[in-house]
């Protein structure tokens, strides 16, 4: 068989640099699967329910988790509210935070990790204190949400304290394109608004006050009459 000849510049020919072939995203060790080498350490025993006596838990967090547990017939129902509380306390669901909640709830950390990784709002990696969710679902994208998301990401690129994410439908297509800034819905957004959002967040002001959803009247003209 004939070998594939070397290129004229002497570099080796590879299948992957044929023209216009879309690049396959590669992760560690050339794998196509992200995080495949992020395996569990099989030499360790599985984590058991952490002991509350040896796991220090901040008083406020403990009270919130216990209050959540008391509201349900089954204490495990409090998993999401408890993880929300931990995320507020630490900024993200860190392994330590999950251990603490697990100790109070008397469940294994693995159980809570399985819950935390399922839901978009619970984050198991460090993030900034301020969340900006830009909706890029269909109704918003029809009105230019993808450009807003790019502009927003660029505007906050240097801000460690602001995490910008594209999000699935946030349920506010009437103000499309929109974003949820620390839970406050704002829209319809224009390109110029992204700098305002960053400035307002850094200054600790109300974000984009005149575009907040809560100030918006009902669109139905008949709702005001009668």
């Amino acid at each position: 068989m004939s070998a594939i000849p070397a290129r004229r510049d002497g570099s080796e020919h590879s299948d992957w640099d044929l023209p216009r072939r879309p690049a396959v995203p590669r992760f560690a060790h050339g794998s196509r699967v992200p995080g495949w080498d992020d395996a569990v350490d099989l030499t360790k025993d599985p984590a058991v329910v952490p002991d509350l006596a040896t796991t220090p838990v901040p008083e406020g967090l403990r009270e919130r988790v216990e209050a959540a547990m008391s509201r349900y017939p089954d204490r495990r129902s409090a998993a999401i509210p408890a993880l929300h509380a931990a995320q507020e306390e630490y900024g993200w669901c860190s392994p330590e935070a999950i251990d603490q909640v697990a100790a109070v709830m008397r469940v294994t950390p693995a159980y809570l990790t399985s819950v935390a990784t399922f839901y978009d709002m619970l984050v198991t990696e460090p993030k900034g204190r301020n969340d900006v969710f830009v909706c890029t679902n269909i109704s918003c994208s029809l009105r230019g949400a993808d450009a807003i998301f790019e502009a927003m990401s660029a505007a906050a690129a240097d801000e460690e304290d602001i995490t910008v994410r594209s999000f699935e439908c946030l349920g506010a297509c009437d103000i499309a394109p929109m974003a949820s800034v620390n839970g406050e819905y704002v829209g319809p957004l224009e390109r110029g608004d992204v700098a305002r959002i960053v400035a307002d967040l850094l200054a600790g002001r109300e974000v984009l006050e005149e575009k907040q959803l809560r100030r918006r009247p009902c669109a139905d003209p008949g709702a005001a009459e009668q």
Partner: protein, 441 residues
């Protein structure tokens, strides 16, 4: 046009008990508690109100399926409104939370239920805060708690905030999530009315359905059934979004022509544009075209037109958007939100995205459209829940109705991708002495 849910919805302070009571709030609860459980159930049955969450199942029937007798029964209000294009419950909860609470208490009375949960999506933080405050007021006033207004009825109502997962709007996924697990749907049957939350009989209803209950009791079920059409009674909140001049929530009588909603209420597409396609019931509904604009907006007419009323969310796409752009957005959403429990949905949504992206990058052939259509067929009906179907139905209808446009797109993208290919090969310096891999001898 008659407003029931949106009647003076913007009145300042309507989210407080004082204003709500001044407008006659909780009178329907008093009236219901003066009737027997059976009579309240009869009113709900007579109203023939169909669920406003998407499936359109008659609410009264759902209540009547609950087993009778003393046992732990639950009511869950589904406020995990995440169907793309839907935002009606948000406005209702934010502006008139007590209407919903009153409806929950009456429905619990009809079903003989003493524990209720309100599962609201985690993103609705402001609305959840408003509901929390309203619940506090209602508890203090004795509308929730033990022996409500001196009657037999005891009810606890807990607000539960979700954490962002579309699948938790599916009723059994919601139940798992409420039990503190990952929100994976369950096998049905048993249906929640028999075995639901904590294995007890559970009544699950959408916010809008429950918020209508006080009005049904106040005016009488038979009177309510006179509004709308025979099989789709009452008024419906419609969320109109996308390429329209006045997006927003509108309350309409079921059965009015869809054109009236899109053009008269929402203002129609921007000037100089025309409606290309529209989703009548959220992004999960098969798409309709401009020719279907005169279809009456009710459950049965939409089904006859080959689509569905769903959650009552109209998304309008005008002629400036390629249909491929819409299809990719849709498929990516469902691929992201698939919980991964059933293979047809997990793999089907994923591969549909890949195939659509091949069309975009110019690697597809018209045969890919057939493969994609067959993937959609193999998803429908083969999973525990309808999330996969919710992608397969609109994508399938887009392939069917916009095949010429997609084929043109495939051709154009292929030409774009191939133009200059020869120059590239020459530039690589292999064209003159290398003619591709040789057969192995």
């Amino acid at each position: 046009m008659r407003k029931i849910l949106f009647d003076r919805i913007d009145e300042p302070g309507l989210n407080t008990l004082a204003v709500y009571e001044r407008r006659g709030g909780y009178d329907a609860l008093r009236k219901a508690l003066g009737m027997s459980r059976e009579e309240v159930l009869q009113e709900l049955l007579a109203s023939a109100i169909r669920g406003r969450g998407g499936a359109g199942f008659q609410m009264g029937k759902k209540v009547s399926f609950l087993p009778k007798g003393e046992m732990d029964k639950y009511l869950v209000c589904n406020a995990d409104e995440s169907e793309p294009g839907t935002f009606k419950d948000r406005e209702l909860m934010q502006k008139s939370p007590h209407m919903l609470i009153e409806g929950i208490v009456i429905a619990a009375y009809a079903g003989g239920i003493d524990r209720a949960f309100l599962y609201i999506r985690g993103e609705y933080e402001y609305q959840a805060d408003i509901l929390d405050a309203a619940l506090e007021e209602a508890r203090a006033a004795g509308y929730i708690g033990e022996r409500i207004l001196g009657s037999e009825l005891t009810l606890s109502l807990v607000l539960h905030r979700g954490a962002g997962a579309y699948i938790c709007g599916e009723e059994t996924g919601l139940l798992d999530s409420l039990e503190g697990k990952r929100g994976n749907p369950r096998l049905k049957p048993p249906f929640p009315a028999v075995e639901g939350l904590y294995d007890g009989p559970t009544l699950i209803n959408n916010v809008e359905t429950l918020a209508t209950v006080p009005h049904i009791i106040a005016m009488g079920g038979a009177e309510y059934a006179k509004i709308g059409t025979e099989t789709s009674t009452g008024t419906k909140l419609v969320s109109v979004s996308g390429d329209v001049k006045r997006p927003g929530n509108y309350e309409v009588e079921l059965g009015i022509p869809s054109r009236e909603i899109i053009y008269d209420l929402a203002g129609g597409p921007p000037d100089g544009r025309t409606v290309k396609l529209w989703f009548p019931g959220g992004s999960s509904a098969p798409v309709l075209t401009a020719e279907d604009l005169d279809v009456p907006y009710d459950f049965d007419s939409m089904a006859k037109a080959g689509s569905m009323l769903g959650s009552g969310a109209i998304i309008v796409v005008d002629d400036s958007h390629p249909v491929l752009e819409v299809a990719i957005k849709l498929a990516k959403f469902y691929a992201h939100e698939s919980c991964g429990k059933c293979v047809p949905c997990r793999e089907g949504t994923n591969w549909t995205v890949k195939m659509l992206e091949r069309i975009e990058s110019g690697e597809a052939t018209p045969m890919d459209l057939d493969i994609m259509a067959s993937v959609q067929e193999q998803i429908i009906g083969n999973c525990l829940c309808v999330l996969g179907d919710a992608m397969a139905m609109p994508i399938g209808s887009i392939i069917e109705k916009y095949r010429p446009e997609l084929e043109a797109h495939i051709e154009a993208a292929r030409e774009r991708a191939n133009s200059g290919a020869l120059e590239d090969v020459v530039a690589l310096g292999v064209a003159d002495d290398y003619a591709g891999p040789m057969p192995v001898h």
